[in-house]
Structures are given as C-alpha cells and as structure tokens.
Symmetry: C2
Subunit: 316 residues, 2 copies
DNA sequence: TTAAATAAGACAGATCCTGTCTTGTTTGCA
DNA sequence: TGCAAACAAGACAGGATCTGTCTTATTTAA
C-alpha cells in the first residue's frame, strides 16, 4: 500500500476510535511506531484535528469532529450540491447549523473561475422561500437532533389557549406550503399529533423521559393523518377557472375529472373529522367551486357564508 | 513539491485545458515527459476521466466533466449537506439532475457506520415538500440552465386561454408556498412578469434570440412585483383567531397590531392592481377577518359573497 | 519514582520516484 | 507512402523519500 493510501486508511481508522496509542496503530498496520508518529504528524498538518496527550494513559485523541477522507467530486456534482444548499439558505429557518455553509465554502474554493461566475449569477436568483420569518431556527435544530438521536423534547407550544409546556417525541419534520410541521407523539394527549413548528416557541431535549418505540414506524409516505378511518366521499363541482386552480392541488388535483365545457368535478375520500379542513380549502376558491357532498360540508359553507355576511352587514 | 501535491495541481491544470500534450505539461511542471505520463496514468486509475488521442495533433483530453481535487470534509459538514439535499429530494420536481444524487452517494459511502444509521433514520422523516406533482422537472432544469448561461427560452404556457407559445428570458426561479415561480422578461408583453412554473408545459432554449441586459439587475431581494407604484392602504380587522392565523403570514404578519381583547388590525400598503390578490388572501379567513379599507376591496368581498351565495342557493 | 506515553533527531537501508533511453504503435499530413 | 508528432510502455541507474532502529528528552498518572 502506498503512503497516500495508507494516510486515508489511517483517517478512517482513527475516526472509529476515540483514543488510541501509536503502538496500537503500529501493530494494526504492521509498521513501526516511528512511521505512524510521522504519519500522524503529517495528517495533523493536513488539517485532521488530532491531538496528543502525553504520559501514562495518554495517547492520541480526535478533537471535536471526525473527518472524512478526501473525496473527489466532478464539477456537476459540486454545482448541484452548491445550488441546492444555496437555494435552501433563503428558507428563513433551517435545521442545519454552520456545517452546510462551511462545506459550501470548500466547494466554492475549489471551483474553477468560470463556474464560480455562473454560480454567483444564480445565487440571488434561485431560492426556496418560506414566508415565515417568525420562527426560531434553534428549535428546528433541536427537533432534528431529537429525531436523529431518538430523544424526547419539552416544548413550549402556542395554541389558542396560550403557550403551554408539553413533552413530545418528534418523529418527523417537514416543510410544506411555507411552514414547518413536526409530527410527534404527544405525551399529554397520548397520541401522534401534527405540530406547526412556528408555534413551538422553545424546545429542550429531555433525556430523562423514555423513548417510545412505536414512533419509529412513521415516515413521510405513511403519514398517520393520511390514514383516514371510516372515509366518506367529498365532492366538489368546479367552473373552468376552478379546474385551473385545483389542477395542481395537493389533495384534489389527482382526482380531477374535466368535462367538455371546461368545468369539472373532483371526489376524494376523507374522514369526517377532517371535513372542515377540506371545506375551508374549497372555500378559498369562492364561486369557482361548489361542494356537492357531504351535506354537512354544504351546511358548514352556508353557515360560514352567513357569518361572513353578517361581518360586513353590521358594519355598513 | 511532493508527488501527491503534484497530482492535485495536475488535476487543477488539466481542468483548465481542454486538450494538452505530455511535453507541454512536462515543460510547465519542470519534469520529464515520462513522469507526467506516469502521473496521468495514475490519475486515470484514481478515476479522473482523462483519455488520450494518439498520432499527430493528438494528446490528452478530459472526458465529459472537469473534476475537483479531493476535498476533506468533516462529519458535520457531510451530514448537513446530506440532510439538506436529501430533504429536497421530496420536493416533487427539482431543477438539478443526477449530480446531486451521485454526490450524496459519495458522502454516504465514506460516512462511518453509526452516522449512516442516524442518517438513515432521518431519510424518510425530514423533507421539504411540494404538493405540486403535475410539473415537469425537465422544464425547471431548462429554466435553471437558461439563467446560468443567460439564454432566452421558448415556453408553452398554460393560461386561462389555453396553452400558448411565448419567448421569455428567465431571470430567477423560486419555490414558495409549494409552487415554483419564474420571474422573467416576456417578449410578448415586453415587460418582466411572474410565471407559475407548473403552468409552463414545455421549455426549450432559444439561442437565436438576443439576451436583454436589464434582467441582470433582478434578484430575490429586489423583486419587481414588490415594488408597488402608487400604493394605497389596505386594512383588515381581525378576531383573536384571525390574529393567530395571520401572525406568521408572509404579507400581513409583520404589520399586525394586537389589541388587548386578543383581536387585532393590520395595515399594509398595496398598489391598486393587486387589490384582488390581497382581498382573496383575506377571504380565506372567513368571518375571522373583515376588510376595513379600501372601499373597493370591501365591495369586492361583498360581490364575492353574493356570487358564492347564489352558487349554493340555486341548488337547494 | 516508575511506567507509559509522546517528541524528535540521527542514520542506514529499503523502497519508490524520476530521468534517460529505447522500442513500438497510432494517426494526420504532405 | 513516408514522415513527424503524439502516446505506450519497458528497462535501468541514480536520486529522493520513506521506513525502521536507536536514542534522548519530556510529560503525566499511578
């Protein structure tokens, strides 16, 4: 094995040890202690954060963070990662710390001048935006950490009754429609619930509480709120403009049936407790959509209409 | 200079040349041709996609893509990039090609087993979602490409009058509220307009048309649609629940004034042509919000109410 | 005080790297 | 067709670097 290959191997080996002595490595690699000493010195000069403790019980330690061996990327790979991470930066709050930024710096540093120029042009022009500027990225980071290491979190959650403390076991984290959501097992309600992350005002890991196994089965393809029990049909009829507005809708889009006159219909199956949610969703379309069934939803819309009408009537 | 350093230098040098001969490099590096030959052979074995053309006028060429010299990352950096890109993967359509994916593979490959396990746990649990599954990632990619290389694009755009072809000069690309938007100079209307990317059914680079310089001044902080000319005040009064719904709203959130009783008010300044947009935005809140001014918006809401009312009345 | 650890210099021998020379092959051009 | 320009690859000597051994010094915990 050549020396440079050996150095890469050495990085991998010392990554997997929290502490080691020169003799030990010399044995493992079949080399003399002097050579290993020299290698470690060289790695240190190359930026591997290794330090030594002299004296009995001493040895070498890795400072802070483990390192990966040097990896060669193609230009396309670097640009793709760069643009992806860069565009995320405009998401007001992100659960990642400075790690991503320093990695971007490394990529940027090695890119040839012409590619750098092209990337600079994209920097302020491609983004994934989140309108929500009120939330604390520290909370997101804590939630992410909790998912990774399987830990219960004590949060301060702002509901309509004010901010209350509760223990949750976060089992996922996703951004959708400009908001972060955190599905979690709630120890207060003793069930899996969906929390709006911007309503989580504080989050602290609570290592004292025990992790419940059932949460591990959850993933994005199998969201508990999507599993409707006892589903009923929910049908809307749409004008031409209504069709256009719903055609790329998350829920109704896939079930849209367009008629010859340009209008359309869509029927989805929902559980009764979510009726209001879908009715409110349709409400946004105004006169371009009419709920056909269930009757409760039609009534709900009519009540909503009356109450809004009274809001404007009393004030004229 | 040590051999390994020299190889890194060599990668950089050959990246900046499309074609070169051994003699040439031997001169530049002050080494013999034989040594350079051997170095190139070694780089080739390490995966640098270099190939040779024999005969007069021949030489070495770089196949496909330029490569970056090997870069060492810390574990934290790798995890941050990995999770960031991974979570983006769930965004139904992304403007990046396989580049990001193969880069992720490299990171994953070098990560120690325990970190891999933690990442696996996150994979299906953290995401940035987009509800819109109808759009073509190929279009996004073309638009991104066009921004990078400054090129006009011919698109098929679906408006209320059907799909029409038009030439645009894309000047940005962003995702917000689950949709991709593309601000672009429109050659048809001769002004900068905002296009919904999911309504762009096809996109082809049109290298024949000339690029207009004024588009380069645009960036995300200086969006043309935010520059309202001749602004008028737009005021809503809110119930307690309305306050809660608007507090992290993109437009009204920052201007919310909460009263002692829990209700609130918000006044923003808009241009008259956007009145309907903001009124429709407030419409969503139902009876939890009442538009106070301008009078045109109040009338608009009342007309919308009447038309929705008639939709349900005629059918009972 | 001692044992176990790093730190670092010196030096010979081993190994690898480099340059030179050589023979071959491929390819475009005159 | 033959020549010149390019790569391909072997051989070998000399040089450079790496490695192992030996050594001395220092640090630290037991």
């Amino acid at each position: 094995m050549s020396k440079s290959q050996r150095l890469v191997q050495l990085i991998m080996r010392i990554n997997s040890l929290k502490s080691f002595t020169v003799q030990q490595l010399a044995g493992e690699f079949g080399l003399s202690a002097r050579t290993i000493t020299r290698d470690l010195q060289e790695l240190s000069e190359l930026g591997v954060p290794v330090y030594s403790v002299q004296g009995r019980g001493g040895g070498y330690r890795l400072l802070q963070e483990r390192m990966l061996p040097p990896i060669a990327f193609t230009e396309g790979e670097a640009v793709a990662m760069f643009v992806a991470c860069q565009s995320l930066n405009n998401l007001s709050a992100l659960p990642f710390d400075e790690g991503a930024e320093s990695a971007l710096h490394k990529f940027y540093h090695y890119l040839p001048a012409d590619v750098r120029e092209r990337i600079d042009r994209l920097k302020q022009k491609v983004a994934i935006l989140s309108p929500n500027r009120t939330m604390n990225p520290e909370c997101l980071r804590t939630l992410l950490q909790a998912i990774m290491i399987r830990c219960v979190v004590t949060i301060g959650y702002s509901s309509s009754q004010g901010v209350k403390e509760r223990d949750i076991q976060p089992i996922g984290l996703y951004a959708s429609g400009g908001y972060w959501y955190c599905p979690a097992y709630c120890f207060l309600r003793e069930e899996v619930r969906l929390f709006r992350a911007d309503r989580i005002r504080s989050a602290v890991l609570n290592e004292a509480m025990e992790w419940r196994e059932e949460a591990d089965r959850w993933d994005l393809r199998n969201r508990p709120e999507n599993v409707d029990t006892n589903p009923i049909p929910f049908t809307v009829s749409l004008t031409r403009s209504g069709v256009r507005q719903l055609e790329s809708d998350e829920w109704f889009g896939p079930f849209l049936v367009v008629q010859e006159d340009g209008g359309g219909k869509a029927t989805i199956r929902i559980s009764t407790e979510n009726m209001r949610f879908y009715a409110d969703h349709i409400w946004r379309l105004g006169a371009d959509a009419r709920i056909v069934e269930p009757a409760e939803a039609v009534e709900y819309m009519q009540r909503k209409l009356e109450s809004l009408k009274s809001v404007y009537d009393t004030n004229e």
